[in-house]
Amino acid sequence: MLELLRNLTKSDKERRQELLAAYLDDSLSSRDRIRFEQMLHEDEELRDDLQRQLVIKDAVSNLPRIRAPRSFVLDPTKYGRPASQISFQLYPALRVATVFAMFIFIALVSIDVFVSESDRSSGVVSTDMVALAPEMAAEEAEVSEGDLAQDVGHAARAVTSEELPAEAPVMEEAVEEVVELEAAEVAPYVAPESEAAAPLLQPSPTILAREVAAAAEEPASGADGDSEFVAPAEEESGAFAGTVAGAVADAAADSIKATLASALQAAQALAATKETDDLAAGASLGAAEEAALADEAAPPSIIADLTAQAMAEAAQIIEEAFPDSELAQIVPHDESLAEKADAEDAPLEAREQYVDGPFLGLGYLNLAEIFLGLSVLALILITLVFRSRVQRS
C-alpha cells in the first residue's frame, strides 16, 4: 500500500532514474527491460545519463578492498554456548495468539452487545440479569434500610395523628379508635416504637413501606367533604393501612409466614371495622402481596406460591366483609394466574432495575468478557516485551 502511494507521488524523472539504476544492476523484468531499451533507443539524453551512471558504478565498485586492521575472533574463555533464543521461537506464536484472542474478544463483545440490544427491543431479559437481580435487590435493600425505617416511622406518626389536620377532631377520634383496635389485633407483631424497630428490620424493598405509607396518607388528604361520614372512614382506613405497613415491615424480620399472618390479620381487622373502602382494602391486599415478596432470600417459586396464597386468603376475607365490593371480583382466585403474574413481574422488575444500567460501568461486558479482555491485554504486553527483546538482540 505504502509502495503504491510512493509510486503515485513519484515524478517522471524519478521513475526514469529508478529504471536506469535497475537496468544497470540488471534488476528489471524482461518486459521492463525491453521497454527501457526502447526508451534508450529513442532518447539520447537518457543514453548519456546511462553512460555516466555506468562510469560511477564502476568507479564505486572498484574502490579498493580494505583489509581488516585486526582479527575479530572471539575469546573462547569469555564466550560460552550461545543462549537459546526462546524469545525468537515464541514471538511469532505470541503474535498469532494475541491477534486471535483479540478477534475472539471483539466478536464476543459485538455479539453480546447485539443480543442485548435485541433483548431490550423485544423485552426479553437475559438469564444473567435475572440471576443477578436477587443479589442486587438484597444490596439495594441493605442500602435503603435506613430509608425504610424512616418511612415506617413516618407512617406510624401519621397513625398517631401527628400529621392529621387540626380542623378534623372527629377524624382524630376515629383514628385513635382504629389504632387501639388494630393495636390489639396486631400487637404480637408490632414493635412499640417504629424507630426502635428499625435495627431489627431485615432487608426488604423500600417500595413496600413507601406504597403502604402513601396509602396511609392518601385517604386522610383525599376527603372531599361531601359526607361527614366519609372522612372518618377514610381516615381510619389510612391510619389502619399505615399501621399495616409498620406491622409488615417489622414482621419481615422474623419469617415470611409471620409476615403473611400479620398482613392477613390486618386484613381481617380491616374487615371487622366494616367502615373502610376499596382503597384501604387494596392497600391491605397489596401489603400482603408485598409481604410475600419481602423475603428476597426465598426462591421465586415460593414467593409466587405464598403470594397466591395470601391473595386468595385476603380476597376471601374481603369478599366476606364486602360482598358487594368490586375489589373481591378483581382479585385473582385462580392460583395459576397469580403464579403467572408473579413469574412475569419478577424478571420485569429485574429488567427495569438492572438491564438498563451498565454492569460495573463496563457497558455490556460480563465477567467472562472482562476476563478475556484482560487476557488480551496481558498477551499484548507479553508480546511487546518479547518484541523489544527480539529487536534489541
Binding site: 544492476d25 555516466r52 562510469v55 560511477i56 558504478k57 578492498r65 580494505i66 550461545p82 543462549a83 537459546s84
Partner: protein
C-alpha cells in the same frame, strides 16, 4: 570450508568453529563497515560488535545465506555507530581521509605507477567523500549494491525494507553521486568527461 557444519558447531558452543567463520568473513564485514562509516576505528568497533552480536544471536539463524545474515547485523551495528558518532559530533571527513591514508591497507593494491597511484588515490578520496555526503540509508544501499555487489532483494533483506525502497534509495544515491562527482570530472575516465 563447511560453513553449515561450522555454524552447527558454533551453535553448540564451539567458539573455535565460530572463529573460523569470523576469519573467513571479517574482511567483507569490515569493508562494509568502513564504507558505511568512513572511519577505520569506528568500522573496527562496529565489526567487532557485529561478530559478538552474531554469536549471541546464532540460535536465531535458521539456515540460508550466512554472509547476508552477517551483513544485516553489521549494517545494524553501523547504524548504531553512526548514531553514536553523530551524538559525539566527531564525524569529520578530513580526519577520516587522513587516517585512511595512513592506516588503511589496500588488498587489491597491485603497485601502479606513481602518477597513476596519485590520480587513483584522489579519485578514491573523491568517491569516498561523495559517499560520505549521502544520507545514511542511501549510502548503505549504495555500498551494499555497488561495493559488495548484492542484488536488490538481498539488500532489501539486509536492510529490512521493501524492494521498491531499495530501488529508490539506490537510484537517488547514484544521482547524488553523479552530481557530486561533477566536481571531480578530471579524475574520472575520459568517457565520463566527454559526456559531461
Amino acid at each position: 570450508m563447511d560453513e553449515q557444519g561450522l555454524i552447527k558447531q558454533a551453535k553448540n558452543g564451539d567458539v573455535g568453529a565460530y572463529n573460523t567463520l569470523v576469519l573467513h568473513h571479517q574482511n567483507a564485514v569490515y569493508n562494509v563497515a568502513y564504507r558505511i562509516l568512513g572511519d577505520p576505528a569506528s568500522a573496527a568497533d562496529a565489526s567487532q560488535e557485529a561478530f559478538i552480536s552474531a554469536y549471541k544471536a546464532l540460535g536465531r539463524f535458521r539456515g540460508g545465506n550466512f554472509k547476508s545474515w552477517l551483513m544485516r547485523i553489521v549494517t545494524n551495528a553501523c547504524y548504531d555507530e553512526l548514531r553514536r558518532v553523530k551524538r559525539r559530533r566527531q564525524s569529520s571527513l578530513e580526519e577520516i581521509t587522513d587516517e585512511n591514508e595512513s592506516s588503511a591497507l589496500l588488498i587489491s593494491d597491485k603497485g601502479p605507477q606513481p602518477e597513476e597511484h596519485q590520480g587513483r588515490t584522489e579519485l578514491v578520496h573523491a568517491i569516498e567523500g561523495c559517499l560520505e555526503g549521502l544520507p545514511d540509508d542511501q549510502r548503505v544501499a549504495a555500498v551494499l549494491c555497488d561495493v559488495e555487489g548484492y542484488d536488490y532483494s538481498e539488500i532489501a533483506g539486509i536492510m529490512s525494507v521493501s524492494l521498491g525502497t531499495v530501488k529508490s534509495r539506490i537510484s537517488r544515491a547514484r544521482a547524488k553521486l553523479r552530481d557530486c562527482l561533477q566536481e571531480f570530472r578530471e579524475l574520472l575516465p575520459l568517457q565520463y568527461r566527454h559526456q559531461s
